[in-house]
């Protein structure tokens, strides 16, 4: 699989990546339990999940840094399961500390080209080009310890792309960075990825990141994919209660399912899953789907969603209001700040829901 490097800005055409039935165990712990995942050419798929869910294992299996215990890895139609890492032609960006400390940024980026025996002048040109792509031409002769974390990761990205790989792998590249840098850099990464048009797998535990830049998001738990869909769907129509609770905030509200819809806080709302069995359950309601109205002192406030405001968090355009509802717990409603500008802790309010589809779980099934 010797590759020729074209040093013009021509891109290689994007490839499809398939993970089929991947399995990996460490002793008695199953890190991956038969993972099936297809990345379409040129798309950025984010693998999202808590620590230990297997997302990094999946990435490393794709890269060849781990051996699988079962299943296949197929890239551009070829089975590469038993191909060693250094022949898989994939670019990888690690969480931190991956730049070679004894080389300048330029040398780091050119490293892959040097291994491929690209002549020095062309190496230099190509590396400079890549550094410019990530906006770091000025840092070309600096060393890793002279650069900030964000800059280091950009160099790492340039280095991974310099060899024109078929697939780009990012292993929580932003987790070690400051919040502000994280936001900037994730947009950078997306921009570059779109410009180069390369099939990309992006692993993270930060759901905001995943939702913001991915074409599709795969939510993982305990070695399995719980849902794989576009960000809007993962957020708006969570397939399982785990997804609903991991991605974004949810309020668990008692509900009754009958006739294909749910009765939540006195409002009839459609169901995400029409096959939900009838009976009592818990609806997972997003804060922005909640609405509230204030009660006068005179009103009894015995309706289903009646409660007392315990705290208000001002978040700019929106505010989050925490309401203690007796018998149910603390609910969080998110409303435009203008609507709640007169609200104070201690006020009595009634919560209702908007008629957006909800996911209802059984009390026993909630894990």
């Amino acid at each position: 699989m010797a590759t020729d490097i074209q040093l013009a800005t021509s891109q290689r055409s994007a490839v499809e990546v398939r993970l089929e039935g991947l399995r990996r165990t460490y002793g008695t712990v199953t890190a991956l339990d038969g993972l099936d995942l297809t990345l379409h050419p040129g798309e950025l798929v984010a693998l999202l999940g808590p620590s230990g869910c297997g997302k990094t294992t999946a990435l490393r299996l794709l890269a060849g840094l781990e051996d699988s215990d079962g299943g296949r890895v197929v890239v551009a139609g070829q089975d590469v399961t038993h191909v060693p890492t250094n022949k898989r032609d994939m670019g990888m960006v690690f969480q931190a500390y991956s730049l070679f400390p004894h080389m300048t940024a330029l040398d780091n980026v050119a490293f892959g080209l040097r291994l491929r025996k690209v002549p020095a002048a062309q190496r230099r040109a190509r590396a400079s080009e890549m550094l410019e792509l990530v906006g770091l031409s000025a840092q070309a002769n600096r060393f890793a310890h002279q650069m900030s974390g964000g800059q280091q990761q950009r160099v790492a990205l340039a280095r991974a792309l310099a060899i024109q790989p078929t697939v780009l792998l990012l292993d929580e590249p932003l987790s070690a960075l400051d919040a502000k840098v994280r936001t900037q850099l994730r947009d950078e990464i997306r921009r570059v990825q779109l410009e180069v048009g390369i099939t990309t797998l992006f692993v993270t535990h930060d759901q905001e990141e995943a939702l913001a830049i991915a074409d599709r998001v795969g939510v993982m738990r305990a070695g399995r994919l719980e849902q794989l869909d576009v960000p809007v769907a993962v957020y708006g129509s969570p397939a399982t209660s785990f997804v609903a609770q991991f991605v974004g905030l949810t309020n668990p509200v008692p509900a009754i399912v009958e006739n294909g819809s749910a009765l939540v806080l006195g409002v009839r709302v459609p169901l995400v899953d029409p096959a939900t069995p009838a009976g009592a359950g818990t609806a997972l309601v997003r804060p922005e789907a909640m609405d509230l109205r204030q009660l006068d002192a005179a009103q009894a406030g015995t309706e289903a969603g009646a409660g007392t405001v315990s705290a208000i968090s001002f978040l700019g355009a929106v505010s989050r209001v925490s309401v203690d509802v007796p018998g149910t717990g603390t609910m969080i409603a998110q409303l435009p700040t203008a609507d709640v500008v007169d609200l104070r802790p201690g006020d009595r309010v009634v919560l209702t829901v908007r008629p957006d589809p909800v996911l209802v779980t059984r009390a026993a099934a909630a894990r």
């Binding site: 840094l65 250094n86 032609d89 670019g91 690690f94 070679f100 004894h102 892959g112 310890h145 280095r159």
Partner: protein, 271 residues
Amino acid sequence: MPFLAYVGIFLLLPTLLVAYEAFFDAAGNFTFANFDELRQDTIVHSFISSIVLSLESAVVGSLLGGVLTYVVATGSPDGLLRRTVTAASGVLAQFGGVTLAFAFLATIGPQGFITKLIIDAYGTDISGGWLYEPLSGLVLVYSYFQIPLMVLVFLPAMDGLRPQWREAAESLGGTTWHYWRHVALPLLTPAFLGAFLLLFASGFSAYATAAALVSQGQPLVPLQIANTFSSEVILGRENVGKAMALGMIVIVAIVMTLNALLQRRASRWLR
């Protein structure tokens, strides 16, 4: 502060005394004569022997010790192997030549275990003078503490090799060989050289082992120095000993400074 006072008396003063008195002769006259003495054959010879011995034992120690360090570093961080080797290295590196000398005597000395085995098997007595000859037997004995010292000094550097570097090199298309040649070895070289220098200084300064093993003559500098103070020799040679000591200080100081510079480079990369 008491600390400074203490250090002043017990460290700086002796050192300065040595340096100072090297310039005087027995009668108290300022002179360079003591240094001229240094050009005496025996003394020059002993300096050369010391240096060669130190170099050889440093080479053996750094190479074998380097390999051992690699083996320890690639094991589990809390494992028994690492603890045992580190503890053992700590002991052997510090523990003074007398024990070491006896250990070797017990093994390949006249009554030694191996000696006997070989006599029984082949009829030849291998314990001869060779163990006591510097530059052959002594290198072997010196290795016994140089290798552990190497492990102690070099292990932090080895630990500093991050696995991400290897993985990054691999993902960029490099083989194991590429990794070592372009990444690991260049990174380790300053630390390795620093450690080598440290081993050299340690071999050069070692006194106890030689004292315990060498019965005739003073083929090494430390022994020569000691000799000038023992009662066998006429008084007045003491200051020559101090001149030699000064010579030692100079050599060791140069070595240690180089070592410090190298370590600074290494630590910048490998922390």
